[in-house]
């Protein structure tokens, strides 16, 4: 299973804070997760998840290239951060 989290503007656009994807070959890497999320949603999902500056984190670490996942990993998508 892959746990997927969404934050801030992305969370509001998708009206979804978190969901779970069953573990399968299709979600063995981050781009697979993105594709699976787009496939299961409507046009809002495609627009939100293909945004240029969307950030992806795996197990709470930002990743800048596609990486391999393991069953149980946590994947998050969020806009550029604006704290401080």
């Amino acid at each position: 299973m892959i746990r997927v989290l969404f934050f801030a503007r992305i969370r509001e656009q998708l009206d979804c804070a978190s969901m779970e994807l069953e573990w399968s070959d299709a979600v063995r890497h981050t781009e697979g997760v993105r594709a699976a999320l787009i496939a299961q949603g409507d046009a809002r999902w495609e627009a939100a998840l293909l945004e240029d500056n969307i950030i992806c984190a795996v197990n709470q670490q930002v990743v800048t290239a596609e990486i391999e996942l393991s069953d149980g990993d946590e994947v998050a998508f969020f806009p550029p951060v604006t704290g401080g």
């Binding site: 801030a8 984190a57 709470q60 998050a76 969020f78 806009p79 951060v81 604006t82 704290g83 401080g84």
Partner: protein, 155 residues
């Protein structure tokens, strides 16, 4: 080993007390640099009546701890501490506090600014401003990214 502390919290903090806590247990420091960030009353000419600070629980703390660890690699620090608020905030309220102690002032000043620059660009917090014209998510500022990049260039 430097003394490091991170707190992500809803409640307000007292900069004076945090500075005292930063010094507790050590005696070699000659210098403490601090930074306090406040909710501006008039952010970019839009009236703001309140703000919601969202975060990614768990990753937030890890990200700040990692920034503090990197700062201790770069400068001889005695202690460093970050407090960041989440939830609802009103104009004039404190949002963030960074305190750094060291023997000499150069390390404190540089590390304090470095920690703020990395926190601004790396820690997963998101501000939503709520004003008379409705609510909107604050956009990331290029100047913040540029400020953080300066440190990479000077590595």
């Amino acid at each position: 080993m430097a003394n490091l502390a991170v707190s992500v919290q809803e409640h307000d903090f007292d900069p004076g007390q945090l500075q005292e806590a930063l010094l507790a247990g050590a005696s070699e420091e000659g210098a403490v640099a601090t930074f306090t960030g406040y909710v501006r009353v008039n952010n970019d000419d839009r009236g703001v009546s309140r703000m919601m600070m969202e975060h990614y629980p768990g990753m937030t703390e890890k990200s700040i701890e990692s920034t503090l660890n990197e700062a201790t690699q770069r400068w001889p620090l005695i202690a460093a501490s970050v407090v960041h608020r989440i939830g609802e905030l009103t104009p004039g309220e404190r949002i963030v506090w960074v305190g750094v102690s060291s023997r000499h002032r150069g390390a404190s000043f540089s590390a304090c600014e470095y920690i703020m620059d990395y926190l601004k660009t790396n820690a997963p917090f998101w501000k939503k401003e709520i004003g008379p014209d409705g609510e909107h998510w604050v956009e990331a500022r290029d100047t913040d990214t540029d400020r953080a990049r300066r440190w990479a260039a000077s590595e």
